[in-house]
């Protein structure tokens, strides 16, 4: 019973963040603004979602796989957003392709 309540609470929080981020990205006009709204989906909603799934299924190989998926998303998300932001900055002339940062 408690496991179901905790799992549903984590799942609801995760869904709320995903939906708000998606709507926020939709309302932003610039690419940089949209990128700011993409970040919470992988870094905040992802771990919450993985925790909800792990609590729901119980500790085992399935929970390990679910945690592995959200860890991959949480680690790769910021890297991809930085790469996309860098490409946009180069396209706008803010950064040169040779620039290290």
């Amino acid at each position: 019973m408690i496991r179901t309540v905790v799992s549903d609470a984590l799942l609801s929080a995760s869904l709320l963040i995903v939906v708000l981020s998606a709507v926020g990205a939709l309302t932003m006009r610039t690419t940089f603004g949209r990128l700011h709204y993409v970040a919470p989906v992988t870094t905040v909603a992802g771990p919450l979602f993985g925790a909800a799934a792990a609590v729901r299924t119980g500790w085992g190989i399935t929970a390990g796989l679910e945690i592995l998926i959200v860890v991959i998303m949480a680690l790769s998300g910021p890297v991809l957003e930085i790469a996309t932001g860098r490409a946009e900055a180069q396209q706008q002339g803010v950064l040169t392709p040779e620039s290290p940062s």
């Binding site: 799942l11 990205a25 990128l35 799934a53 790469a83 490409a87």
Partner: protein, 84 residues
């Protein structure tokens, strides 16, 4: 319908829908942001469906998508950015 299948439906409608709209407007990099939003939402929707139908073997699909998303997005940033 349990909570997880409902969550999968919510993600497909309220998460993937806006992501597809973002991915269909603007220049290449602006569309790439839509793809970046769509990929984790699709991963979560597939995970929620797997939990909802109680089939752990289905988790291989979001796992592969999560890994391919990294490579695919980096390739797009390389191709869409200015050439050195």
């Amino acid at each position: 319908m349990n909570a997880w299948i409902a969550a999968s439906a919510v993600l497909l409608v309220a998460g993937l829908g806006p992501a597809l709209v973002v991915g269909s407007r603007g220049d290449g990099i602006a569309r790439l942001v839509g793809l970046q939003l769509a990929s984790p939402v699709a991963v979560f929707a597939l995970m929620a469906f797997s939990v909802g139908v109680n089939q752990p073997s289905y988790l291989i699909v979001p796992l592969v998508l999560a890994v391919l998303n990294v490579v695919g997005t980096l390739v797009y940033t390389r191709l869409l950015g200015p050439r050195a």
